[in-house]
Assembly symmetry: C2
Homo-oligomer: 269 residues x 2
């Protein structure tokens, strides 16, 4: 098999298995190639991944060594993408009665979701993350996009107790906007004790839902090392959390609004 | 830029943009290469994708022509993966009180979810699918894995009316197992009229939930061209749907069971 063929096969492998260590011997056997040939291939792949702005290969030497693809995406590409999203969000037809913003069409687009995941993975590059946590429903695809790139599990907090999940921990909390008491449930089996987690959600107003998630995660002795929201309401006076990453800030999202404006979020600060 | 570099960049592009047509001129400009060079690159990529069992490049000639990556995965690889899943599912610790099977750890693993998506995309290869539909919550990651590979939107049916979604169509239906009346809601904006859809879910007993989804989709004049479930209960006597693809069949899933057995589903019939 030629080098050109191997490079295609290896690129496919790395793109589909980010943050997974693979030994040189795997490629040597698969492509019937020498260690030095595979090693040169990895140099070429690494150089091109960096050139394309999609990350790099991390090569660990020694008996337990291997190579893993560390995704890290070009910031300007993410910004260009998010500027386009801002324009789409400013369409007045997205304003729903009650001062909500319609985003489900975007969240239903797998390519959009993947780009959002890439932006978060780059923003969280300096954190050690063992699991991605979200609460049903709309943040779920974002959580999987991140989980896939970080090669870590996704944990979904439910709104009600489910018979199909076994014993669970539940909390009540007061939601920021409606001031109603709401429930969150996390089955005990879903998350080991003492994990480093990142919390993600699609939308944040005052942050009551995220505060609820943090409280529930305390029951699992989890350490929240990163919080990411796709869109936050910018002019919110009663914010209850302060250390988070938003990709987009929405202004003038309120009851009776006729227009709204969208700009890059704390991601770009 | 050398051919070896271009092949890495092009492989990355195709893997991340399945079923999206791209013109030769895009790669010619990006890599400052001639039409004949890019054309030869595409031949090499196509041959290697087929060799690796991940699909092929579809090249359309003419002024509006372009190249798209059609994912189609090796059936034996999917079978090997699903046999491993069956073994995992047969662990008696997965049996929950009430005769349910714990699968959330698997569904929380992004690599597992991607493999499930690959199996379904291969099973649905002969269908024209415009959108993937599921009902919250556990089928959502599978729906996105399929939507990403087919490059079509994902539509999530909700269990309750949401203020953040605008006007909606809702139906009531009788669930197969509990015989209770349940509700499903789909916002009007989520799905255009007259689409070809595939329905997916994580688990099917009698099929009441899927029958409910079909009824709701009739309100959108959607044509259900494929139905896929990750796991079905094999020895179910009151099945209400018959034309579907299951990846895994579970036997002896019932109240008070101490063991269960799992085997490949209709996917392998």
């Amino acid at each position: 098999m030629k080098r050109s063929d191997r490079l295609i096969g290896m690129t496919n492998y790395f793109i589909n298995h980010p943050r997974k260590q693979i030994k040189l011997s795997y490629f040597m056997e698969k492509y019937e190639a020498s260690k030095s040939s595979i090693s040169e291939d990895l140099d070429i792949v690494n150089r091109m991944f960096e050139h394309e702005g999609i990350g790099r290969l991390n090569r660990l030497s020694g008996a337990h060594g291997g190579t893993e693809y560390i995704p890290h995406f070009d910031l300007d590409t993410s910004k260009t993408f998010l500027h386009q999203v801002c324009k789409q969000l400013e369409d007045p037809q997205r304003i729903l009665p009650g001062g909500y913003v319609y985003m489900s069409d975007l969240l239903g687009n797998p390519e959009f979701v993947r780009e959002v995941g890439k932006a978060f993975v780059t923003a969280f590059a300096n954190q050690e993350i063992d699991a991605v946590v979200t609460v049903e429903t709309k943040g779920i695809p974002i959580a999987y996009a991140i989980g896939q790139l970080l090669n870590v599990p996704v944990v979904i907090i439910r709104r009600n107790l489910k018979v199909t999940e076994g014993s669970s921990v539940s909390i009540n909390y007061v939601s920021g906007r409606s001031q109603r008491i709401q429930t969150m449930v996390l089955p005990k089996r879903h998350l080991k004790q003492g994990m480093n987690v990142c919390i993600v959600d699609d939308f944040m107003q005052a942050g009551g839902t995220i505060t609820g998630m943090i409280s529930l995660l305390e029951e699992f002795e989890a350490k929240v090392v990163a919080i990411g929201v796709l869109a936050e309401v910018a002019d919110e006076e009663n914010r209850v959390i302060d250390d988070y990453t938003s990709l987009i800030r929405l202004k003038n999202v309120r009851m009776g609004a006729q227009t709204l404006s969208a700009q890059l979020g704390s991601f770009d600060d």
